[in-house]
Symmetry: C2
Subunit: 224 residues, 2 copies
């Protein structure tokens, strides 16, 4: 479903060259739950941003459901790339990027303004309830805790019932109990809805929820 071939992302800073992602090839099948682990700075966020079509690789190819997204001489237009992102993906970023001027509920509902699948209106309140945000629905991001912000980001990523969830450290700010709950929610969505999950995590317990663990080290990926 998601196929990367020799995906590479190089940052050039003056004379310095940083190979943040260094020739990564892997396939993530539809409905798989894959965990990415590895030391801080090993390239997990960079790789996940490439897989999620949020960043362009320096070289290499990305294919989505057989369609070429990057590479092989064929580049998707910005407009088509945007459509792919909205229709297929849900994102949980390592920095939550909540809109400071929108309430919790408005932040969760935001993706619906750009693209709405049928029957997703109820998802907003269902997810808010599931993630324990009921009492904070009208608060602004600066009026909630760090873990509450993280939960808003999780709800927002799921509101459009995406086919592929990209989750970059979704529980770093949460206590053990909530982390386990989030883990169960993700596992349930994977099993019952076939949600494809690409998750970066430093939490070994959470990583084991996936059926597959990919380890990153210095921009390279290794099947664990």
């Amino acid at each position: 479903s998601l196929e990367a071939r020799e995906l590479t992302r190089v940052y050039r800073m003056g004379s310095e060259e940083i190979r943040a992602v260094d020739g990564v090839s892997l396939t993530i099948g539809r409905g798989e739950f894959v965990s990415f682990v590895g030391p801080s700075g090993s390239g997990k966020t960079t790789l996940v941003n490439l897989l999620g079509c949020l960043d362009n690789p320096t070289s290499g190819e990305l294919h989505l459901a057989g369609r070429s997204i990057f590479g092989s001489g064929h580049i998707l237009s910005e407009k088509d790339l945007t459509r792919v992102r909205r229709e297929l993906f849900g994102y949980i970023f390592q920095n939550f990027y909540l809109i400071p001027t929108l309430t919790v509920r408005e932040n969760v509902a935001l993706p619906l303004a750009f693209y709405r699948k049928p029957e997703t209106e109820e998802e907003v309140d269902r997810l808010i309830g599931m993630l324990g945000l009921e009492q904070r629905r009208n608060h602004l991001p600066r009026q909630i805790s760090g873990g509450e912000m993280q939960r808003v980001a999780i709800a927002r990523a799921l509101v459009n019932r995406p086919e592929i969830l990209l989750a970059d450290e979704p529980t770093g700010n949460l206590d053990t109990k909530r982390t386990e709950e989030i883990g169960e929610v993700l596992q349930e969505l994977n099993r019952s809805r076939g949600l494809t999950i690409v998750m970066v995590t430093h939490n070994p317990g959470l990583a084991r929820l996936g059926e597959r663990i990919v380890e990153m080290r210095d921009g390279r990926a290794f099947e664990a």
Copy 2:
């Protein structure tokens, strides 16, 4: 050394009243290493901000080395409060608040511009080395990973060799190995230098490094 009596912080939003910290009384002795744990939203960040003189309580008292900071009819001037913060405390915030236009090295060195103890210039490079940031010293915050940003925040908090370190979830974005290393660094500073450590963490292993664990629930604190 740090004494709180009935410390309370209430947020009022329209008709709603949120008792984020609800009558907390505790004493943290000089050189103690205390871990605060508890569910997301239980008031840990709010309490730690009060203890670190970053926020004013709605009611209750705070005494620092016998000196009254808040409460008992005696309020410190903004100027004196600022001096207390700079001379006594190092802060690691849950959101790192790095200055986007300053490099890693400049961010770490920033507290020295406001207040400098003798012989702290070498601390900048020593901490950068200790936290594995050597290769990123000239990068801007947007050019480093999430865990690297967290490490910059840790280095910056320690650069002025503070007497009291307030650390709000200092390792949420770090892998297990780095988390253990940070834990050892903190333990070492506590033992060899008598650094008083007030740490919020969701990581049970890290919490146990402290000699005391305080649990928070709905704004109240309980000795574990």
